[in-house]
């Protein structure tokens, strides 16, 4: 599978959207509906390419950020396709747009204090709000530093930004950098290794990477049989068994 056409395709799509919005052509969500878009530059994409992501939560800037992020963190190589081909961006979008992203199970009463690291998450933000604010702050940092947003900087610069986020060296102002980063990292890993029903781990490529058999139920005989032996895995997901 080639890398480039998909990337071009994505950029093309987003540029189209930006222009459309800027030009006031597509002021309504209907005009932005993904099926219509998919027809635009889609011809460039190879037929077997993963379907164009249809986003329910992320806005255009955020889509660009997340796609660049997951493709940087999970680049295509002999081991797996790249992050967007695994659907990690789709996973993140759905997770943020869904119950978890909206703060399900999160205690959201004040007063709000920063507290000690050992006291855990203390922001008055749902995960979706945190993601949104974190992307905005990271992009602001990138513009300050590189004059471009995260999706437009080169791979070396992206690497530096991710190192800065993961070590807390980049200051995101009001947002605690580590809190944003751990949420980002967690969602990328979930998108890579959660069951494919959630939109990521497409083709069970995350599981194939490590040899995880997925939803397999019965190992009783296998414990002895495969003790210290490779276990032949063609992983099964929930959908395969439903």
């Amino acid at each position: 599978m080639s890398d480039q056409p998909m990337k071009d395709h994505d950029v093309g799509r987003r540029d189209f959207l930006r222009k459309a919005v800027a030009g006031g052509v597509a002021a309504t969500t209907t005009a932005l509906a993904p099926p219509a878009l998919a027809q635009q530059p889609a011809a460039a994409a190879p037929a077997q390419e993963a379907p164009t992501a249809a986003y329910e939560f992320l806005n255009l800037d955020e889509q660009a950020f997340v796609e660049a992020l997951v493709n940087h963190m999970i680049p295509a190589d002999g081991l797996t396709p790249k992050g967007t081909d695994l659907g990690i961006n789709v996973y993140i979008d759905r997770a943020l747009g869904g119950a978890w992203g909206k703060g399900d199970r999160l205690y959201m009463q004040g007063p709000w204090k920063i507290g000690q690291p050992g006291q855990g998450y203390q922001l008055p933000l749902t995960p979706a709000q945190l993601y949104r604010a974190g992307i905005e702050a990271t992009n602001a940092y990138c513009v300050r530093t590189y004059k471009k947003t995260f999706d437009k900087i080169d791979a070396t610069q992206r690497e530096d930004v991710l190192i800065g986020l993961s070590t807390g060296k980049i200051d995101l102002g009001a947002l605690p950098t580590r809190t944003f980063w751990t949420t980002v990292y967690q969602t990328v890993m979930e998108g890579m290794f959660a069951d494919p029903i959630y939109g990521g781990n497409r083709g069970k490529a995350g599981w194939k990477l490590i040899g995880f058999p997925g939803a397999l139920a019965v190992n009783r005989e296998n414990v002895e049989k495969y003790r210290d032996k490779p276990f032949p895995t063609d992983p099964l997901g929930i959908a395969d068994m439903s």
Binding site: H72, R105, Y107, G118, Q119, V223
Partner: protein, 588 residues
Amino acid sequence: MATRLKEVDVVIIGLGWTGGILAKELTDAGMKVVAIERGETRSTEKDYSVPNVRDELRYVQRHDLMMNTARDTLTVRNNRSEEALPMRRLGSFLPGEVVGGSGVHWSGHTWRWTDMEFKVRSLYEERYGKTFIPADMTIQDWGISYDELEPYYDKFERTAAISGKAGNIRGEILAGGNPFESPRSREYPLPPLTPILASQMFTDAARNAGYHPFPRPSANASRAYTNPDGSKFGACQYCGYCQRFGCEANAKGSPHMTVIPIAMRSPDFELRTHSWVTRVNKDSTGKKVTGVTYTNVLNGEEFEQPAAVVLMCAYAINNVHLMLLSGIGKPYDPVSQTGVVGKNYCYQTGAAATLFFEGRHFNPFMNAGGSNASIDDFNINWAFDRAPHGFVGGYVVGGGFNTVLPIGYRPVPAGTPQWGKAWKAATAKWYQTAMQISASGSVMANRNNYLDLDPTYKNAFGLPLMRMTFDYKENEHKMGRHAADFINQTAKSMNPTTMNPATARTDPWTVVPYQSTHNTGGTIMGTNPRTSALNKYLQSWDCHNLFVVGANAFPHNSAYNPTGPVGALAYWTADAIKRYVKKPGPLV
């Protein structure tokens, strides 16, 4: 105004392991029992079945079976000079919130705690002198003995289908079992689980070094089994989805497929789900409770359920919260060291190393909750001299796997990049080649670790959250260092390609990540109403028709998981209540 309902003999708050056992035993004894459970009913057939239960995201990451912190949580801090803040989402511990409680999604490691815990202060003082125990370490004897509890351990082990190998039957030491355990009256109901590679390798290393490995006893049925109550177990499938999941094969001993369905068959038992107990009510004398007030969480309606006997079975920390909210017993004050409710809250500590062996295949997705070989040489082995190391308590060490799924478990050697091609290559390379050796350590009670009501934060019912003030003390740091050294030595003797060594937990306790759902203390049992909240039958010293059942009754925490004595004490309390109803009044 709350709607007042008809009085019953017994009301049980919470229907997990303890509530389930008591519901069954007391309906068997002919009492009219109502159980009030905040969660909903879930069953093996419709909820814990394949493929849908095989969902790490839902059950591990999103805590589907566990308490919803949006509705009720705790505030936490390390010491009194800090401001406690709410645990806004689950992390360090994961109490359940469905019928069956945490007993649905536990792992099943089931131990018999011994007189080394129950007589902790006497034993250490006798051997090491009074000054060996630090002044701020508020450990005390429990007022109960192993011999008294033995038949009840036995009963719980048979109910929950424990697979294991006895090390001591009536004083005879048996090969293959834990030689340090206290005498048991008979073998485990089921033979040990089939060992996995990691547990075999740990067993060999420990044995070569002169220690005494044994298969960890656990409620994972090593073969199909019918317990004495007639509950049917399937054989464990080593599916790798144990802890935090319900068991699809009914192979994990859980209250929702044992004691609870049996109680449900009795016309004298009624279960009310979606019902949240907010308070236990007292009569005008304050010496008896009259029943409970609860809210139907489906519509907010409030009810009062009068009862002759009230049983708190809502899980250790929830029981303490209810005691504080209901104003039963004097709250503990760490400054004057008076009062009892909230006293001696304890947790556990630990250390772990990851060992990588190029070329080996651990198949970490193939295990039971209890696929683990353990040693007790530094725990209930009283011959292990603590004097040179200067700590009270001990730790149990194990090698094996329990529910290591890929969102959470992808071991790589320290220093590996966290993303990119190098990360991916390392993840692919090492996943199959890693095993862990880990220790779980006791935590001794300390005067500054306690529970009380938070002055600021409230739950969904407008009631104060409980505040947890907890940190590890020097005693635990010393033990942690000993454990880490031992683990690293053992690991090195196994010649791994590389390893991430164990380190002692000496940083302040944190509410993330997950550590264990082994919270203990807060309403402890004892021999003196001034220093304990409950007597040895878990009966409140203050209100004799109230019993508070669970690990809240433990005066300190051992290295072991808690549910062995939690289950045994539930049966023990059931017998006490059967005596109590014939002649109500203090049992001690």
